[in-house]
């Protein structure tokens, strides 16, 4: 009886268009943000930061970016790993070239660089569609990784071929490097995730979002009602790659500390993030977060249950994880292509009618 829209009237189109039309949702949203910013940083442990929360937030950003391209614009990309690598290497180059500029600015700039690269590899989408495009984005994946491995300039001629993040601070607090505290890592990633989610929500509910979805649902009709496919697709690639680039930058600078292109940003990363988008829900900002949470928690959970609880060998647990992930992908595509986000929406619909469903 609590979760209701009754009495929650909208007097303006502005109020009708807001993100959370129901008052209870709005309250819950602000409460969640408050906990995330004001409570979690004080209780977070190293284990929770490194194995759950920080990867969750970074993957959520990447999934958000990919969701704009796949879920909203309907252009499937398998080059996410490569684009994350662009963000990572751009951050590395920028921060070693200009060590005095704030790392936060470098991360955003790295996003910008990735956006440009993304647009370049998005150009073929004007001629190539569907899985032809999906396959051709693999060109980006393989070419970029090769580039970062083979051209020593990108890794500053280091002997190991790796890039290693130097220590950087924000307002005097260390945010990168091995001795960074868990709350600092967490807060940097949380800040980026919240801001980018807000931007993504704004973009997808307005003019650009409609252009993207029009292209996704029926590209010929979209062009006939006045959508320029070139600009619509390229802005989608740009925005998507911008976010993926930032995710890659954070993944390297805050999470890993040191990275090697094919190890950290290989094709498996592309698939992992695509899976997050599918399981979380195509075309949903919330779904990107849900999918990232799911895919980060699943291995942790399986490891705890199978290895920790039942004493199975780790490699067997890893194989079973592959099976579960694969089966889940197929399951979601069959049963609910809109993923966890849709399941959540349906639950809320049910709740709205509860306890009188008829």
């Amino acid at each position: 009886m609590i979760y209701r829209e009754a009495g929650d009237f909208k007097a303006s189109y502005r109020a009708d268009g807001q993100t959370f039309p129901l008052r209870l949702d709005r309250t819950a949203y602000w409460a969640l943000l408050a906990v995330a910013f004001l409570v979690v940083p004080f209780v977070i442990t190293d284990y929770w930061a490194t194995s759950v929360l920080v990867p969750f937030l970074i993957y959520a950003i990447a999934a958000l970016g990919l969701n704009i391209l796949v879920g909203y614009t309907g252009q499937v990309s398998l080059g996410t790993g490569g684009f994350m690598a662009v963000g990572a290497y751009a951050t590395y180059k920028l921060t070693t070239m200009f060590p005095d500029v704030s790392i936060l600015i470098h991360v955003v700039l790295a996003g910008g660089v990735t956006a440009l690269v993304g647009m370049l590899f998005g150009l073929p989408s004007l001629r190539i569609k569907g899985f032809y495009l999906a396959v051709s984005t693999l060109a980006a994946q393989f070419f970029l990784i090769w580039l970062f491995n083979k051209v020593p300039w990108f890794y500053n001629y280091s002997a190991s071929g790796q890039i290693t993040m130097p220590e950087r601070t924000v307002f005097g607090v260390l945010v990168t490097g091995p001795s960074t505290s868990a709350p600092a890592k967490y807060l940097v990633c949380l800040g980026f995730a919240v801001i980018l989610a807000w931007l993504a929500r704004n973009l997808t509910r307005g003019t650009s979002g409609r252009k993207w979805m029009a292209i996704r649902d029926m590209d010929i009709a979209a062009e006939i009602i006045g959508v320029n496919p070139l600009t619509a697709k390229l802005t989608s690639f740009a925005v998507s790659s911008f976010m993926i680039g930032i995710a890659g930058a954070l993944f390297f600078a805050v999470y890993l500390g040191a990275a090697e292109a094919s190890e950290s940003f290989g094709i498996n990363k592309s698939f992992l993030i695509l899976f997050m988008v599918i399981i979380g829900g195509l075309g949903s900002v919330f779904g990107s977060f849900a999918g990232a949470a799911f895919m980060v928690l699943l291995p942790v959970l399986l490891k705890n249950v199978l290895v920790g609880g039942m004493g199975w060998p780790t490699d067997l647990a890893a194989h079973i994880e592959l099976m579960i992930v694969g089966a889940l992908i197929v399951f979601f595509l069959i049963v609910e292509p809109h993923g966890l986000a849709q399941l959540w929406r349906l639950t809320k619909e049910k709740l709205r009618l509860w306890p009188f469903p008829h």
Binding site: G74, V76, L123, P124, R127, I128, K129, G130, F131, Y132, A134, V135, S136, L138, A139, F142, F143, I145, W146, N149, K150, V151, I220, A221, I224, I267, F271, L274, F275, I278, M310, G311, W312, P313, D315, L316, H319, I320, E321, L322, M323, I324, V325, G326, A327, L328, I329, V330, L333, I334, P337
Partner: protein, 327 residues
């Protein structure tokens, strides 16, 4: 002259590798033509087939790893070995069972979905099968030997040396692969042209609805096509497995077959072969001439970039059917 002959040798080897690529690409084309599914899991099918073949040959107990972990037993092997021919037949049987299961559990529920959804479902399938194969047979690198000749062919070397004064190094396995691939293509073409099932398969490829309305069972066709693709995967798995061992990287040959398809067109069997040859030769030559200038190891991306550039100018591939847009 020496240089020229070396390049000629490179081309020969490229052609042989190209045949191997074509072999995998063939499986893709078959499924795509008959069901409109772009089957990403084809490479993992090849891995799975090779794993199963080795497992049966060596008398491994399936799921031994899992059973041991669950019940604390220490099972490994039945203690017998199975002759190659019988093992291949048994593996083919397993691939048919797998096709049945895929149709029943996956494809049947995705009828009428958009191609891209089906494509993503096969990525999920690939992950599942990879895990399943590992759980069933173990993930350690295995050697596969079904009695195919290997090593450098002395005959070819002697013959070319006599002819040109420069002995070509050609792997005997590659020659066999070329022969087997040719035979396989011939068999497939004969099958689709001269048998009732083959005609039904082509009818389904042309128009699902129309095929259904004349009484062709879509389910049967799909099972058949996936079985054939499984069989092609088995052949590819034997070739690649013999060449470089049965291990995870075997499934990555699928990634090599994708640009082959883009180049050749997804619906064309000759396209798969020509595309395979172009890429096999192209990447060898590119690595030889351009590779040293830009750091080498260009094989990882050359095929993709070539296919990408090509597609921008001819989106339907070399032999694909032209797509006409209507409103």
């Amino acid at each position: 002259m020496e240089q020229l002959l070396y390049v000629a040798e490179l081309v020969m080897n490229g052609l042989m590798t190209g045949v191997m690529y074509a072999l995998v690409a063939l499986g893709f084309v078959l499924i795509f033509k008959a069901s409109g599914v772009f089957n990403y899991s084809q490479g993992v099918l090849a891995l799975f087939a090779a794993l199963t073949l080795v497992g049966i040959q060596n008398g491994q107990i399936p799921f031994a790893h899992l059973i041991n972990a669950m019940f604390g037993t220490n099972l490994h092997s039945f203690g017998w070995t199975v002759p190659s021919v019988l093992a291949i037949l048994l593996t083919a049987g397993v691939m048919v069972l797998l096709a049945l299961a895929i149709e029943k559990l996956v494809l049947r529920h995705l009828v009428g979905q958009e191609p891209i959804i089906l494509f993503m479902a096969t990525i999920g399938l690939a992950y599942f099968l990879e895990g399943f194969g590992d759980v069933m047979w173990g993930a350690d690198v295995k050697t596969l030997d079904v009695g195919l000749p290997q090593g450098i062919s002395d005959t070819a070397e002697a013959w070319t040396a006599q002819l040109t004064g420069y002995g070509f190094f050609i792997d005997r396995l590659d020659i066999w692969a070329a022969i087997v691939a040719t035979a396989l293509v011939a068999a497939l073409v004969a099958f689709s042209q001269f048998t009732k099932q083959g005609r039904a398969m082509r009818a389904v490829a042309d128009d699902h609805q129309a095929a259904l309305s004349v009484g062709i069972s879509l389910q049967f066709i799909w099972i058949m096509v996936w079985s054939i693709a499984g069989f092609v995967a088995l052949v590819a798995g034997i070739m690649w497995g013999t060449k470089s061992g049965v291990q995870f990287s075997l499934s990555l040959i699928a990634l090599k077959a994708l640009p082959v398809l883009m180049l050749g067109g997804f619906t064309s069997i000759p396209g798969a072969i020509v595309g395979g040859l172009i890429i096999g030769v192209g990447e060898k030559l590119f690595e030889f001439f351009v590779g040293p200038m830009i750091g080498g190891a260009t094989e990882t991306w050359f095929a993709y970039v070539l296919a990408l550039i090509f597609l921008v100018f001819r989106p339907q591939g070399l032999f694909g059917e032209r797509i006409i847009e209507r409103v």
